[in-house]
Amino acid sequence: MPSISMTVNGKSVSGEVEGRTLLVQFLREDLGLTGTHVGCDTSQCGACVVHVNGESVKACTMLAASADGAEVATIEGMANADGSLGVIQQAFQDHHGLQCGFCTPGMVMSAADLLQKNKNPSEGEIREWLEGNICRCTGYHNIVKAIQAAAAAGA
């Protein structure tokens, strides 16, 4: 089995994986980072979004071996150093941008990438960006508000 190594949330990790192992499986099953979720297997729902080398990626669509040598960030790395919620996370709580919480890690990771690329997105730009993240609970209304608030707070 191939050996791979990468940096996840700032820590160096390595492991041996089958060639068919997906990045999301490596994160969840080998590293125990179960905050990244699997919702659909077809790259539609976005519950598995992580950052690979600074870009949001659906971790169910990428082989773990393809992330060899990469810098990976997951929801577990998004809080502040003191453990308090980061700006986007706090905005989601303040604006009730989550209900069951299952899509939430992917939403937060996707929103973080949007706000890196566009510091002040319009409602339409946020909705268009989130097209690849499905939420069945919130109707998106409060997710959009949360991302707008995070942008205003300088996330």
Binding site: T34, H37, I75, E76, T104, E131, N133, I134, G139, V144
Partner: protein
């Protein structure tokens, strides 16, 4: 200034911190020592006879721990149904066995045939490919009308494919027929309520574990009601007594009804964990969810509404075919009957109503309750038909509804379909919605749309629902094989903090926050001192779970009753401490006081004394401070409201855009406005998804064409508008202690007719009178062409 604690405060959700940091614990996040993995080999045909299953090659594949088929499960029962409907001839419904693994025949695509247990999921899946199946295809039963018109049958027990033929209310039939025959105007509409898939973003998952030394089973499962699963699986499928079976439903990633039911996979992993002597995990992939989660809706209905010359409703007659799928899911029979027929009075004074429902078996995935469950189907029939009647009679659709609303002084109001509404004010929510929608400037918006080459339409809908499910005596008389009370234990610990064990289950609704608000309000303490525990049969006394917008109305009421008992016992302890008569002790703001004196003791002293009873009158007072209540509601609750939708339609492409949507709801008293509004947003989006996008499609062979999220159109952020929501019109429930009605399903019930009414309004001058859901571009375009030709 708004409150920052207790009832009425928009307290931030305490559960969010773990979800936002990746520390939620969903079932698939749990791994047990020595765990193996299950993979189910499922039927790829809709209907077939199993002539042979050869597992010999698979059994020797790498990593395989065991392979099981129906013959291994002969001692187990079938998956039970929890509701028995009696048909119009007094006969019980047809109830064919639903085996854990297919016995001799397969009845729908996705029906599980064999299960492979292996060291890894990949090994289980690889081995399953080596199983040699010999299945003789049989003609499939897919279309409901064809199903009841002779031909092949799904089950021998139901030779006409009819599960039950139900009249409600049979005694009304003659009066309804007479009223329709003699009416000034009759509006007729034939419509389909499209089949849906719940698609909670978390797929179902189950982990079975067996402790041989203690002879104890544990099931971790994605459930809305772990005690119900323990009862159904333990008593009816696997013969395991409750004290040897623990069911844990940890964080659950959405349910919407689909995680109420007891599923074959849960029983299998529980049984097989003992057979192989190791824990077993099964997690559905999304296509498996499409093929095995109970689906929703799927009704075909003819509606006839009789009106007098002033537009007063005289009678309503509905005939429905309701798809049950291949087997009866846990609550399937009650959805098209008692959750549907009882709501056909809507918000209106229609004096006589009759409905006939034929429930039909087909070779499709079982159908059961999905957010709203029967009530969306009833509301859609009524509100589409009323809209059509308004257009036919030239009466404004708001005005026609108002002429027929039950007046606010007419409550309690006995409908002709068995239920009694306790309270409501339907004109108030309609007036509120009209104001929110700014209808005075609608003409200007319509002109602006036309300038862009778009057609603008306005859609109105009212709704009522029966929630807070439900009085046990009533549902028992109607065929429920369970009571529908709720349980709660409130435990005050020695230092005064409080643990609440509730039988309600939160899978997104925020109970850990709202229930703590209720308790904190009653005890005059900080919300942070109240912990809410749910989802584990080993920790909770009992529970019927969360569905039917019942958690705050029934589960919350059980908590209130227990807190009331705590306060009563606290008064006894305080009276003892203050050497006062118990009758003179009052409790407010966390202090026990003697009326008319300056004597008082605080909460913490009373709590500590309960557990350190050195000087206690033991002959009259037990130590400890813990109380349990079972609350059985006296009636349903009846949330109601009015919704208004504006759409823009591109007549060239058929594409519909939601321009605006406002919702005015009466939920009675509200505990946490922020959470209530979030529930409405989510419900609206599910209803609008049904109306605009979603459709579960089987082809003529019974193949599930829409079996992935690439094929089934879910509402996404760019399909939806921001919503205007209001819950200020409040007529509190008269029969529960909090005056609450429930808010979880309203949005999904009221929004589909509002959207379709708007689309038809936009196209009515072209001659379009109805379009079935989803009003996708192809259907809208075809309706325009058909009307013009």
């Amino acid at each position: 200034m708004p409150k920052d604690q207790g009832i009425g405060a928009s307290s931030k959700r305490r559960e969010d911190v773990r979800f936002l940091t990746g520390k939620g614990q969903y079932t698939d996040d749990i791994n047990r020592p020595g765990q193996t993995y299950a993979y189910f080999l499922r039927s790829n045909v809709a209907h077939g006879k199993i002539n042979g299953i050869d597992t010999s090659a698979a059994a020797s594949a790498p990593g395989v721990v065991g392979i099981f088929t129906a013959k291994d499960l002969e001692a187990a029962g079938g998956v039970p149904c929890g509701w028995q409907v009696t048909d119009k001839h007094g006969e019980p419904m047809k109830e064919p066995k639903h085996p854990i693994l297919a016995e001799g025949k397969v009845c729908h695509v996705g029906d599980p045939i064999a299960a492979v247990i292996a060291e890894s999921l990949n090994q289980a899946r690889d081995a399953a490919e080596l199983i040699d199946l010999d299945i003789e295809e049989l003609p499939p039963v897919i279309d409901m009308r064809a199903a009841i018109s002779g031909g092949p049958t799904v089950h021998d027990e139901a030779p006409d494919n009819i599960c039950f033929d139900w009249d409600f209310i049979a005694d009304n039939k003659e009066a309804v027929d007479q009223a329709i025959a003699g009416a000034h105007h009759v509006t007729t509409l034939t419509l389909t309520n499209n089949r849906l898939v719940a698609n909670a973003v978390e797929p179902r998952c189950a982990i079975g574990e067996y402790d041989a030394a203690r002879d104890e089973h544990t099931l971790y499962t994605t459930s809305q009601n772990p005690h119900v699963i323990r009862l159904l699986m333990g008593a009816f499928v696997l013969s395991i007594p409750e004290h040897k079976l623990r069911v844990v439903a940890p964080d659950v990633g959405g349910g919407f009804g689909s995680k109420i039911y007891h599923y074959a996979e849960e029983a299998f992993v529980t049984w097989a964990a003992k057979a192989v002597g190791r824990p077993i995990k099964w997690t559905a992939d999304r296509s498996e969810s499409f093929m095995s989660d109970a689906q929703g809706r799927d009704h075909q209905t003819k509606v006839e509404l009789a009106l007098d010359e002033n537009g007063k409703f005289l009678a309503l007659r509905c005939e429905t075919l309701a798809n049950m799928g291949a087997y009866l899911s846990t609550f399937a029979p009650c959805v098209p009957t008692y959750l549907h027929g009882t709501l056909l009075s809507g918000n209106y004074t229609t004096p006589v109503i009759h409905t006939n429902v034929k429930a039909v078996f087909t070779n499709t995935v079982p159908v059961d309750a999905y957010r709203g469950a029967g009530r969306p189907e009833a509301t859609f029939q009524l509100e589409r038909t009323i809209d059509k009647a308004a257009r036919e009679m030239g009466i404004d659709p708001v005005e026609l509804r108002k002429r027929n609303f039950i007046a606010p002084d007419a409550f309690p109001y006995q409908t002709p379909v068995a239920v009694q509404y306790d309270t409501g004010n339907y004109g108030a929510t309609m007036d509120k919605a009209v104001a929110m929608a700014d209808l005075d400037s609608y003409a200007a918006r319509k002109t602006a749309s036309e300038a862009k080459g778009k057609r603008r339409g306005l859609g109105i809908a009212s709704y009522i629902e029966a929630c807070g499910i439900a009085p046990s005596s009533l549902v028992g008389a109607l065929g429920a094989r369970a009571g529908l009370y709720e349980a709660a234990t409130v435990r005050v610990n020695p230092t005064g903090n409080v643990a609440v064990m509730t039988g309600s289950h939160s899978h997104g609704q925020g109970h850990e926050t709202t229930f703590a608000q209720v308790v904190a309000e009653m005890l005059g303490c900080d919300e942070a001192n109240v912990d809410i525990v749910h989802g584990d049969t080993a920790k909770i006394p009992f529970g019927m779970g969360t569905y039917g917008s019942r958690s705050i109305a029934v589960g919350g009421s059980a908590i209130v009753r227990s807190v009331e008992k705590i306060i009563e016992k606290g008064k006894k302890i305080a009276a003892h401490l203050m050497e006062a008569a118990e009758a003179d002790v009052t409790f407010a703001d966390g202090q026990f006081s003697v009326a008319g004196t300056d004597k008082s003791v605080d909460w913490g002293t009373v709590a500590l004394t309960a557990y350190v009873p050195h000087n206690f009158p033991h002959e009259t007072l037990e130590p400890g401070l813990e109380e349990t209540s079972f609350y059985d509601p006296a009636n349903f609750t009846y949330p109601a409201g009015a919704y208004i939708c504006e759409v823009e339609v591109d007549a060239d492409t058929g594409k519909v855009d939601i321009a605006s949507f406002v919702a005015a709801d009466d939920f009675g008293n509200v505990i946490n406005p922020m959470i209530v509004e979030g529930q409405v947003h989510g419900g609206l989006t599910q209803g609008l998804g049904q109306a605009l996008l979603e459709n579960c499609v089987y082809d003529e062979n019974g193949q599930l064409v829409s079996a992935s999220l690439m094929d089934y159109a879910m509402p996404r952020a760019d399909d939806m508008p921001s919503f205007g929501v209001d819950h200020s019109c409040q007529t509190p429930c008269t029969h529960n202690p909090l005056g609450v009605k429930g808010c979880g399903e309203a949005g999904a019930i009221g929004s589909p007719p509002a959207l379709v009414n708007a689309v038809v309004d936009a196209l009515s001058d072209l001659g379009v009178t109805h379009i079935d859901m989803p009003v996708s571009p192809g259907r809208v375009w075809a309706a325009i062409q058909a009307a013009q030709n």
